[in-house]
């Protein structure tokens, strides 16, 4: 798929995101918009997975865990747009009895979700577990995880980081959404993480960095990450993104981390995002 096609899908995903959160006046648009390009690339090009026949056991296909579960709108949109379930279902987001819970969950059996997430810090450990099972099963497909940068303040992330490096879990590619913002403000003001790249390197990981809004750079970085698979080290990509990317008034601030736009703001956002694939 060429970059323009991918970007066009990502733009529709962004429309879906703002419409979903606006419809229920709740949800997390900021981080969702920031990860729209990455998840589009992952699901439409990079990952090996069968969107029409979702299997919980994920055997012989790549498995993805969204550890920062609050950006569920982007995951749901990408899953729907890639054929896991009808796009019309996006209209049920956060509504009673919906399969699209506020944070991803497995109990209503939404295709594409294999683990509940939302309470932060758990997805890396889950990913390690699945990666080890793949090794035991002789399954050479991969495990991808996505984490917020603020999420790295959770101690469990570093327990998992130590484990994966110490045990050569080299069929796992973790990505950090490094947007520098969290609910209470800028990450630097809330709790600085220091030099992230050096931290992961010191923990024994193969570290890559990329611009989360540049399809070509992400494509080549992910290809490089895949080339490291089997080298004995877990792989992390620090992905620089802009929270709220694509909607001008949501960018440059932490304020849209977990706030939904009103009607007027929604209209403004949609005016900036072309309807490329047709709204749900």
């Amino acid at each position: 798929m060429d970059n323009q096609e991918l970007s066009s899908i990502a733009t529709q995903v962004r429309r879906d995101i703002v419409r979903m959160v606006a419809a229920v006046s709740s949800g997390h648009p900021g981080g969702s918009l920031g990860c729209a390009d990455f998840l589009t690339l992952l699901y439409f090009e990079v990952m090996k997975n069968d969107s029409s026949n979702f299997q919980m056991d994920g055997k012989n296909e790549d498995v993805f865990y969204l550890s920062n579960g609050h950006i569920s709108p982007v995951l749901y949109s990408v899953l729907a747009r890639s054929g896991h379930f009808p796009v019309a279902e996006l209209a049920t987001f956060r509504k009673l009895s919906s399969r699209l819970q506020g944070h991803p969950a497995t109990d209503k059996k939404i295709p594409g979700v294999r683990m509940a997430s939302g309470s932060l810090g758990q997805g890396l450990s889950c990913g390690i577990g699945t990666a080890l099972t793949k090794k035991m099963n002789g399954d050479d497909s991969l495990v991808y995880t996505l984490h917020g940068d603020g999420e790295l303040q959770e101690g469990q992330i570093w327990e998992a980081a130590i484990y994966a490096a110490g045990n050569g879990v080299d069929n796992l590619i973790a990505t950090i959404d490094y947007n520098g913002r969290q609910i209470d403000g800028d990450l630097e003001d809330v709790l600085p993480l220091g030099n992230l790249s050096q931290k992961w390197q010191a923990f024994g990981w193969e570290v890559l960095e990329m611009d989360g809004h540049n399809m070509e750079e992400m494509r080549s970085t992910l290809a490089k990450a895949k080339s490291y698979v089997g080298n004995g080290k877990p792989i992390v990509i620090i992905m620089k993104t802009e929270m709220g990317q694509g909607v001008d008034y949501m960018m440059g601030t932490h304020k849209w981390h977990g706030a939904a736009p009103n009607d007027e703001q929604l209209a403004s956002a949609l005016g900036q995002l072309e309807e490329t694939l047709g709204d749900y």
Binding site: A105, R114, Q122, S125, G129, A160, I162
Partner: protein
């Protein structure tokens, strides 16, 4: 009526060793069984499994949160992970991990917890979890099993591998009498009536089952006929067995090495309150932390010994 003499002591062993043997045996039968341990391989008696199946044993170090979620992740692809650490670190330390990644996500993880309760002994209250049954039974999708001796712990360990879904299996450190025959029937969710009686029902789990048997012997000397039920599965609770027995006896004593708040006794009271309101007395730890001491000293001091079961039975009989 079953004679109490049926319960001859077959030996004495710690229940955690029953777990260790059960894990090894089910590991031989089912190649999908894998084990994770947080730096307590010896204490959990997981060494034999580790030696025989090194490729299926995962030493995670002192990182229980990571262990629980790794176990959850391992189920994706068909493994049946057994986690091993002390009961305190298997529950309260990792409650959120269990809640989200195991219970809510309905993953086939077997949380195996040793050194539960006061009988952990000298290490003291930091390690003596007395709230774990309550915490775990409150979680939807969770099965909670507290076997009573070495043989039953071994049976339970093997049985949980055969059922689909999250399980909390609680056992302990001290050497205690073995009185369940190795070939006895064990069904998850099906209580064992160990002694039939007509005056009072004693429902116990874990280490308190043997105490209940001793109490029944003592009560029989005083002409009191006690029915003893081994409620090894706290959840799902065998309500039918409770109701059948209490309909006959008209009163009940519950006995457990756990807080009265939130334990087996609470579960029994809920069933009786809804279907058959009956006098009930509780043998358990009453809203206090433990302390260092020998298991026997602690059971005496905190009121969870044979004498306490006897006294509770006498008391509840007067309330009929």
């Amino acid at each position: 009526m079953t004679e109490t003499t049926d319960f001859e002591v077959l030996g004495k062993k710690d229940t955690r060793s029953g777990f260790g043997e059960g894990l090894l045996e089910i590991g031989r039968k089912n190649k999908d069984v894998v084990a994770l341990c947080a730096d307590l391989t010896g204490s959990l008696k997981m060494g034999d499994f580790k030696a025989e199946f090194p490729e299926r044993f995962f030493q995670v170090g002192i990182a229980e949160a990571n262990m629980m979620c790794m176990a959850a992740g391992m189920t994706v692809g068909g493994k049946i992970p057994f986690t091993g650490t002390f009961a305190n670190f298997s529950t309260s330390r990792v409650y959120d991990q269990i809640r989200q990644s195991i219970a809510y996500s309905k993953k086939n993880v077997k949380i195996c917890a040793s050194h539960a309760g006061l009988t952990l002994g000298e290490d003291g209250a930091t390690h003596q979890v007395l709230e774990d049954i309550g915490m775990m039974k409150m979680l939807p999708n969770m099965t909670v099993i507290v076997p009573c001796d070495f043989n039953q712990t071994k049976q339970a360990t093997m049985a949980i591998a055969e059922m689909e879904g999250p399980v909390y299996l609680r056992f302990g450190r001290p050497s205690v009498p073995i009185f369940i025959k190795p070939d006895a029937d064990f069904q998850i969710g099906k209580a064992d009536v160990l002694i039939e009686g007509s005056d009072v029902t004693i429902i116990a789990c874990g280490h308190l089952v043997w105490k209940a048997i001793e109490a029944a012997k003592e009560l029989s000397i005083h002409g009191i006929s006690a029915e003893v039920i081994n409620m090894h599965t706290i959840k799902p609770l065998d309500s039918a067995s409770i109701l059948k027995s209490v309909k006959k006896t008209g009163c009940v004593v519950t006995a457990e090495e756990h807080m009265i708040n939130g334990g087996l006794g609470d579960s029994v009271a809920q069933v009786l309150g809804q279907h058959l309101p009956s006098p009930q007395e509780y043998v358990g730890v009453n809203d206090t932390f433990g302390e260092s001491g020998t298991p026997a000293e602690l059971m005496t001091k905190y009121g969870i010994d044979t004498i306490n079961v006897v006294e509770a039975a006498k008391k509840v009989l007067q309330r009929k």
